[in-house]
Amino acid sequence: MRSHTVFAALVAFLAFAATARANGTANPGGEALHRFGPDPLQLRFEGETSSRSWPIYVTSAEARTRARIHVGFTNAISVMPESSTLSITVNDVAVAQTPIAAATDPGALDVELPRGLLTQGFNNVRIAVSQRHRVDCSMEATYELWTQVDPASSGLAFPGVADPHIEMLDDLAAISPDVSGAVTIRVVLPDDPDAAAVDSAMHAVEAVAIRANIQRPRVEVVGEIRDDAGLYVLAGQRGYLTLHGLGEFIGPGQGRALSVEGQEVSGRVIVVAVGDSPKETADAIDGILPVRHAEARTESPPAARALANQFGYSVRDELRVPLRDLGVHTEEFGGRLFRAAFDINLPGDFYPADYDKLTLSLTAGYSSGLLSNSQILVRVNDREAGSMPMKNPRGDLFRDRPVSVSLSAMRPGVNHVVVEAQTPDAGDAACEVKHLMDMRKRFVFFERSELIVPAFAHIGRLPNLAATLSSGFPYESETSLIYAPSRDRATLSAVASYLARTASVSGRPIGARITFDREAAKRGSVLFIGALDSFPQSLVEQFGVDYVSLKKSWSRVNAGDFSGPEPGGTAAPQSVDSGQVFDQWAQGGHAAPEDFSPRLTLRALYDRYINIHRGDFALLRDPERPIQAPERATILLAQAHGPQGFDTWTLVVGASPGSLARDMTSLVAPSNWNEVEGRASVFTPRGGAKTIDHAVHTYFIPTESLTPGNLRLIAAGFMSANLDYYVLSVLIAAVLLGLATRAAVKVHGNRS
């Protein structure tokens, strides 16, 4: 694409944002564009080396076209075009490469793909960026480098195919995300639906989100199916739906029926799952879910890899896997700050405590002439978790050298792991022009490096929102409930978006049932979603939330002090809002360069070598503080121990149904969803999601069978986090042993 076409696309995007968003798949240009979802932030490449892969579904019709790949981008002014490149790889085949020179005018890369490279099904598209600073050789300066790929115009284009004709459930994955990265699902429900109908609809939405590989679902509850482009889902009992005037789209026949219709109106797909009895309906809905057998999966290895890593590499138990499988590629690097990043997804019953270590067994090498403070740093969730010095002045090449990260640095759900190599050399300080152009390779990282996860303890430890958002725990069973205080469309849309995202991340539908019955919601584990006003103060305060201040700040929001787009409006521009990104930066979303000189105060030494604080002793802990939501927050998530036994209550509240629905669509973006953790989190439109409180007092919910091995790890973890319990138990055991020894010794052998 030439620059003026890109510019036109940008203008079109700004002007027709609403319609463009509504018509998710249709492209004004007349060819289907399958964008890179699910989050524009994923299209931002920072630092000297950065890359990302996406699994993109291609239908058989699309695969037969002469597909092209469009990438439009802008970059920071500090990027030196002469030594910075953006390259594209499809299914592990290098396809295109261009220098990065789009600081003033947007740049673009438009390449036709070789025939046969794309196959029907999922394909792996990878963008890799290598950037160098124009004038500054320091490591700190590398944080100024960025390239932003335009989410609107970038993607796979299939000329001649205006929209993917979707005939099968698998092809649902061909629906392109819109500019903001979301895929809109319109679920059809009559006005004032009953709980069972809503339940079926929710399950169907979840199943569709899973089957269509939708990472960022934006669900709207609608009353009818219109003749416009979009994905519609209609599910429920035949009788009920027909009664409410939706029989038109349900085919003839009886018993369970599952159908996909995508021919009548261009760009519109309708998924219908109905049955005559509740069981048949449930079976039909289950039919939407993908088949899981290994033989049935036919992706090529690169595509399988992209799919495996889209929610973070799933780690169920102990494993040992080369980083190649996590999307890391062998790379020779000539800059100062190398990064290899990947995500791992730990189960909801992962118990994070200091009872074992996760190991990165690194195979890498570094050249001679590096400064002695060169090191490899491992960051987990933006905190430094392990390091390895690179001190040999003559350089070194090593295999399988371990760097350990304590399991207490991890959390259930998605963990961002970054292997960072700091490789400053002697010439960086002077930074002469010749040195800037120097392409000498300083560091090499091999994809055969391994991630070794030890056997970890499986037990639910709550409250921890990360567990709930990443795996639905503890709402997978049908005995748990989802309580929505009202049946208006906005609230139900918010509920559906939340559930669809949860299902998508965890890979299976949520078992909990929806209820509107306040009384029923008093027993068992309950997930409360709705506007603040519709919940009684006593309920909200049970979560430790400061109800009064929250209500006050949100009544201002409702009065319009804080102006925002209406529900269903253009939330899209905000997602690309550099303001949000700026705020994330400002709040330390990315780690700053380290201060290398060790501080020699007593306090620093204590923290470094001993590091025991009051909070480590269970008996000395303060009670939980009340949860105070910050000013700009529009969604508050909180979790607390339910009234009885192992019950867990989770609360998701917004200022009003409208704002809840609107902001939920931003919350489900991965960059926000994965940051929710602890006892309370908030979503702020400009700042994204942020955890505001980690639980001090936690409780356990057993999940798997408590085998001796698991129990031992759980006990070790518990006693690592509560030092006083360990000390007391060992002291008591020592006293008992001493007494028993004395008694035994006195009756054996000769006596005085």
């Binding site: 590091n611 020592a734 035994a744």
Partner: protein, 749 residues
């Protein structure tokens, strides 16, 4: 019933304890429990709590040790793929494993040291007949005389015991050997000792062939004597009068008793004690064994025969055909055989003999090397673990005695490991500084506290390390020779009674100079690396401290191999000296096997004294036994200010004379015990460390000064032999008479 219940209870408590101690908790929990345990142990120690608190103290310490060891095994050994570091890493680990296993075994052994009640007083007709064996090979007749006379004078019915002098130095084989000079010496010896025995009232016995050394010697007499009991004294072990009265009664109380062992007590310092000047204030090295360990062994019926100062039942020996002679530690071997047949032994912690330790460092090493090799022979040829008839407790006891000697091998990795890092940057112990503090340092503290708690009265902190350091190189060689030929390692007799008349370097000193040099250079390299390598390397700091410890150890070692002239504090015993025609009240300063030294105020000397003049010394015997005199001959005189010191050699001594000399030289049981107790004050770890530092600082200057003198001497001698004039300066010869202290020093008055 109750026993097995208590055993089961102990096992289950132990299991719970083990599970808790090996939980993989994080490092901060480790630090917390380590500190808590150490605090608990300190409180118990400071408050002096007794009873079950002893076992609780040890359990707390064990928790720290178990946690350390678990972490050490799982986390700190280099991976197998890194073979260059893996092999030394495993060797170092095995050395630590050894010390942990030894600690565990020792906790069992000294679980409850036994104190025995005195034996029943026997009626005269009940008293058994006793043969007293005094085996000898090359000891001087003067020395033997003391022992024999003391044995003869023991408080026991005269018709019920016989003293045998068993001479292997005057055997037929020796007298008829090819070397004419040696044969003549042997013949003279036989004649002299036969006369001595007759004079003193003992029986002299020798044999045709020198087979099986001491065991064979004693078996020869065994066949020709018939006393119900046998008491064995080494040639230099002078018994006190009440020895038999205090031991024989037990054999009537228990018909299955085969051994009653008493502690060895030494009146002279061993080389370390002498060269580091600790004899008066620090317990001797053997006191840990005789003071605590044998008492612990006794509880488990594992007290074993130590070759001397013991009484054995003939009937038991008969069953095993006499004293065992397969290994060169025939004493332990004999006890092993008898224990395995269900006989019982006992240990009575009353020091009732006064003996001599090897004086020079080389003879000390010779003695220890023999013990090490002999024990290792037992391990290979008569392994207690496999011996039927021993109880589990006895097997552990014997194993502890034997495996103690493996320290010589397992100490070597500790000496070498820091050098691997300093010079080759090999990392054989994978730990960062935080882990080092939370695991290793706390473990070392707990270990030291436990050792100090168990043995603090009889062994100061770090003294074990010094002894082991001195022995390790030589004993390791010895053990190796046993491996090569288990049946015939060379057996050299320790020579005792050697005198030291001037400061000089031990002939075995070279390796210690080398080690000192190596560690000094390494220390310099450490400092250089610290300042030149940009990042402050925590690992380097830790290794530097380890190397510093080795350096201090080798410095103290230099203090040991710089042999001091034997210097003993004066006796100050009042005597009457009849010389010429006058009778002078004087003071005996010193007495030994060859003679004595007397101090006379100058004004009381009416005539000058000529060398060779005869005199008589009259001594008031202790404990009101009257007075006794003995003849002496002047050998030298020295005037110091207003006193005259006269050195005397003994004249022709008769039996009664020996009594007086013995009275001057040796104390009775009470005095010995008092001297021993006076040294056994409980001192803390800091005190031990302070003394250790003192040795490290004083050692090298002395050693290097001696080295310098020897080098000068050698050069002068070289010049002299080349015909040049003027030899080197010879150090002034102090008085010729070799002097030994009497243990009465510590007794007030």
């Amino acid at each position: 019933m109750e026993r097995s219940v208590k055993k089961a209870l102990w096992l289950s408590c132990g299991l719970v304890f083990l599970i808790l101690a090996t939980e993989p908790v994080g490092i901060r929990s480790q630090f917390a429990i380590g500190v808590a345990a150490l605090i608990g142990m300190s409180v118990i120690r400071a408050l002096g709590l007794t009873g079950p608190w002893r076992q609780i103290f040890l359990a707390l310490g064990t928790a720290v040790v178990i946690r350390y060891f678990f972490w050490r095994t799982v986390n700190t050994i280099p991976p197998l793929s890194d073979l260059w570091n893996f092999i030394p890493g495993v060797l170092l680990y095995m050395a630590e494993l050894y010390s942990t296993v030894m600690l565990a075994i020792s906790l069992f052994v000294v679980a409850d040291p036994l104190d025995r009640k005195p034996p029943r007083k026997l009626a005269p007709e009940e008293m058994p007949t006793v043969d007293i064996y005094i085996p000898t090979y090359n000891e001087d007749p003067e020395l033997l005389a003391m022992t024999v006379i003391a044995a003869i004078d023991m408080d026991y019915p005269k018709d019920k015991f016989t003293v045998w002098l068993l001479d292997d130095g005057g055997s037929d084989q020796k007298c008829n050997q090819d070397n004419l000079k040696k044969a003549k010496e042997a013949q003279e010896r036989r004649v002299e000792l036969t006369a001595l025995a007759e004079e003193l009232g003992a029986k002299y016995l020798t044999r045709a062939k020198n087979e099986h050394a001491k065991a064979g010697n004693m078996n020869n007499c065994f066949k020709q004597s018939d006393g119900e009991l046998i008491a064995v004294f080494d040639a230099d072990h002078v018994p006190v009068r009440e020895f038999l009265q205090q031991t024989v009664g037990y054999f009537r109380e228990d018909p299955r008793l085969f051994l009653c062992q008493t502690p060895h007590f030494f009146t002279n310092p061993d080389p370390l004690e002498r060269n580091l000047e600790t004899f008066q204030r620090m317990p001797s090295e053997n006191e840990m064994f005789y003071g605590i360990i044998q008492k612990g062994l006794d509880k488990w019926n594992g007290a074993f025969f130590c070759g001397s100062a013991a009484v054995i039942r003939r009937e038991a020996l008969q069953l095993v055909g006499g004293f065992s002679g397969i290994t060169i530690t025939e004493d332990c071997e004999t006890a092993l055989d008898l224990h395995s047949r269900g006989w019982r032994s006992m240990y009575v912690d009353k020091p009732m003999i006064s003996g001599l330790q090897p004086e020079t460092f080389s003879s000390f090493i010779g003695q220890r090397s023999r013990w090490a090799r002999g024990m290792f022979q037992i391990f290979l040829l008569k392994n207690p673990v496999l011996k039927r008839g021993l109880t589990l407790a006895q097997k552990i006891c014997y194993l502890s005695n034997i495996t103690y000697w493996f320290f010589s091998i397992f100490r070597l990795p500790f000496l070498v490991s820091p050098l691997l890092f300093i010079y080759f940057n090999m990392q054989i112990y994978i730990a960062n500084a935080q882990e080092f503090i939370s695991y290793t340092v706390l473990y070392m503290l707990a270990n030291m506290m436990m050792q100090n708690y168990l043995y603090g009265k009889v062994r100061w902190a770090l003294v074990s390390e010094v002894y082991e350091f001195m022995q390790t190189l030589y004993l390791a060689q010895g053990l190796f020779s046993v491996v090569l030929n288990p049946y015939k390692p060379t057996f050299n007799v320790t020579d005792k009674g050697n005198s030291l008349d001037k400061d000089h370097l031990s002939e075995l000193s070279t390796p210690f100079f080398v080690l000192f040099g190596v560690y000094s250079v390494s220390m310099i390299v450490c400092v250089w690396r610290w300042f030149t390598e940009r990042d402050a390397n925590e690992l380097l700091g830790v290794v530097a401290m380890w190397n510093l410890f080795n350096l201090l150890m080798s410095s103290a070692a230099l203090g040991v191999i710089a042999e001091r002239r034997t210097f003993r504090a004066p006796l100050d015993r009042p005597i009457d000296l009849a010389i010429g025609s006058s009778l002078i009240s004087a003071k005996a300063l010193d007495v030994s096997y060859g003679g004595c030294r007397v101090c006379v105020p100058a004004d009381r000397m009416q005539q000058p004294v000529a060398v060779g003049a005869p005199a008589v010394v009259d001594v008031k015997l202790r404990a009101g036994h009257g007075a006794q005199s003995f003849p002496v001959v002047v050998s030298n005189t020295v005037t110091r200010g207003d006193v005259v010191e006269i050195g005397f050699a003994f004249g022709k001594l008769k039996r009664r004379h020996y009594q007086a000399i013995g009275d001057l030289m040796f104390g009775d049981a009470k005095e010995i015990t008092a001297f021993r107790e006076n040294r056994r004050r409980a001192h803390g770890i800091l005190h031990g460390m302070g003394t250790f530092f003192a040795w490290s600082f004083t050692g090298p200057p002395r050693a290097f000064r001696l080295l310098w003198w020897e080098w000068k001497d050698r050069r002068a001698a070289l010049k002299a032999s080349e015909g040049g004039p003027g030899g080197g300066t010879v150090a002034e010869a102090p008085p010729v008479v070799a002097l030994q202290p009497a243990p009465a020093r510590a007794a007030s008055a």
